[in-house]
């Protein structure tokens, strides 16, 4: 518990320093609980998520950094490796390939990379995975783009 708190505090300081360095990620710690974080990440360019801003929720276990944070999308996203209803993310580093070498910040980077490079063979969203697996890239992109517009872009007046 003490170790995880100390580590998260170091990450907090690092995040303040990196804010300028990585304009695609805005990682914010809950005011009252250092084990709860949220992040805003920009959809990577040349993907159907371009132009969207996606919110992630982090729940950090007491065993951190020996155990991974739980992360999920709060913003609806149409992506093979993200559960459409719960926002759960299927990413190896959040499961068995986790190591303390990762940070909340680098997890955000990994999620951005996952957005750009979906793994349709391990889908949490089968509809999305099936479109890609059947080769219907256009269908996948238009669905993904539609949800980006509906859920991840500011509403136009």
């Amino acid at each position: 518990m003490q170790a995880s708190r100390a580590r998260l505090f170091k990450e907090y300081k690092e995040v303040q320093r990196e804010k300028v360095a990585d304009p695609d990620i805005q990682l914010v710690c809950d005011d009252s609980n250092i084990f709860k974080w949220t992040a805003l990440i920009k959809g990577p360019s040349e993907t159907p998520f371009e132009g969207g801003v996606f919110q992630l929720a982090f729940s950090v276990p007491e065993q951190y950094p020996l155990q991974p944070p739980q992360v999920r999308f709060l913003t609806k996203i149409f992506h093979p490796n993200v559960h459409f209803k719960t926002g759960e993310i299927c990413l190896d580093i959040l499961k068995n390939a986790w190591s303390p070498a990762w940070t909340l910040q680098s997890v955000c980077r990994a999620i951005i990379a996952l957005m750009a490079h979906p793994e349709p063979d391990s889908p949490l969203n089968c509809d999305s995975g099936n479109l890609l697996r059947s080769g219907d890239v256009r269908g996948y992109q238009s669905m993904a783009k539609m949800y980006t517009r509906l859920a991840a872009m500011p509403k136009k007046g």
């Binding site: 170091k10 950094p65 759960e88 940070t103």
Partner: protein, 301 residues
């Protein structure tokens, strides 16, 4: 239409935060998290059976384990008991090599009070730190693990305020918050060494996986619970400059003559080269018993 609830990205923040806990609970229905939960449940069950590091047992306990087993193994255990007095088991959680190494090394320091060795390994530890830095690792991701190992090392030497007894060493090795941190320290050291000498390790790694050296370190060295192979042992032994003897207890046999138990000494690259100048290679003070998939600690007579 499910879109409606999602249209307003700004408005939904608060509502989601408030239902967060209940939503995490419902994840239990989902495959991956289910598996994760189950996995940790299995570890808890396992923990009740075998501590991270067990008690020292006479070698006869190994014999008892194979009572009705393969005659080759029984014969080999007989050979082993000629040279070795005892075994200390470690938990089979994928960290057994690192855990065995940890206990064996610290126990050696505690018993030998070899401060020259402590100074020597500290120099190597600092070099490992530099290696990770130069590989681009963020300092705060590994410094806690380094600090915890150095703390254990210091307290194994008697005569200072933090000195510990042998019993305390056993207790600490079973305390997850210490034991796992030291294991993780070794994982960082091993990963750093492999990446630093990636040209040397690449052919070995190609034989194990299809991935690159970097991928191997990220997926098979750094994550807790990933089992160790020869590559890990060579890298750790080289990085810390500590020789390791491994005895292989398996069913292999030569058709003629008496059975022998194969062993292999992992001698740090630095010592092999100094050997050519005439100095003799020391017998490793760390002896591990390997049975396919698992490492335990052996005690010579």
């Amino acid at each position: 239409m499910q879109n409606q609830e999602n249209v307003d990205a700004d408005g939904k923040v608060e509502s989601v935060v408030s239902i967060q806990t209940s939503e995490y609970d419902s994840w239990g229905n989902l495959g991956d998290d289910d598996i994760m939960l189950q996995k940790s449940a299995v570890f808890v069950q396992e923990a009740e059976k075998v501590p991270f590091v067990g008690d020292k047992e006479p070698l006869s306990s190994l014999e008892a384990e194979y009572k009705s087993g393969s005659p080759i193994l029984l014969e080999k255990i007989k050979v082993l008991s000629g040279q070795y007095a005892a075994i200390r088991r470690t938990r089979g959680d994928g960290n057994c090599f690192f855990r065995s190494f940890m206990f064996s090394y610290l126990e050696h320091i505690l018993e030998s009070q070899d401060s020259t060795e402590v100074d020597r390994i500290k120099t190597n530890v600092e070099n490992c730190r530099k290696t990770l830095r130069s590989l681009g690792y963020t300092e705060f991701t590994f410094e806690d693990f380094f600090a915890l190992f150095l703390e254990q090392l210091e307290s194994a030497l008697q005569g200072n305020e933090t000195s510990i007894s042998h019993d305390e060493l056993v207790i600490r090795s079973r305390d997850q918050s210490i034991s796992d941190y030291v294991v993780m320290f070794f994982r960082f050291v091993t990963s750093g060494e492999i990446q630093k000498r990636s040209e040397f390790f690449e052919p070995f790694i190609m034989g194990l996986t299809n991935g690159t050296v970097d991928q191997f370190c990220k997926s098979a060295v750094e994550p807790m619970g990933e089992e160790s192979d020869h590559v890990h042992i060579i890298a750790l032994s080289d990085a810390l400059g500590v020789p390791i003897r491994v005895l292989y207890l398996d069913r292999s046999s030569c058709d003629s003559g008496g059975l022998s138990v194969n062993h292999h000494d992992f001698v740090p690259a630095s010592e092999v080269s100094s050997d050519s100048t005439g100095s003799e290679i020391k017998i490793p003070f760390i002896t591990l018993l390997y049975r396919p998939g698992h490492y335990d600690i052996l005690y010579p007579k």
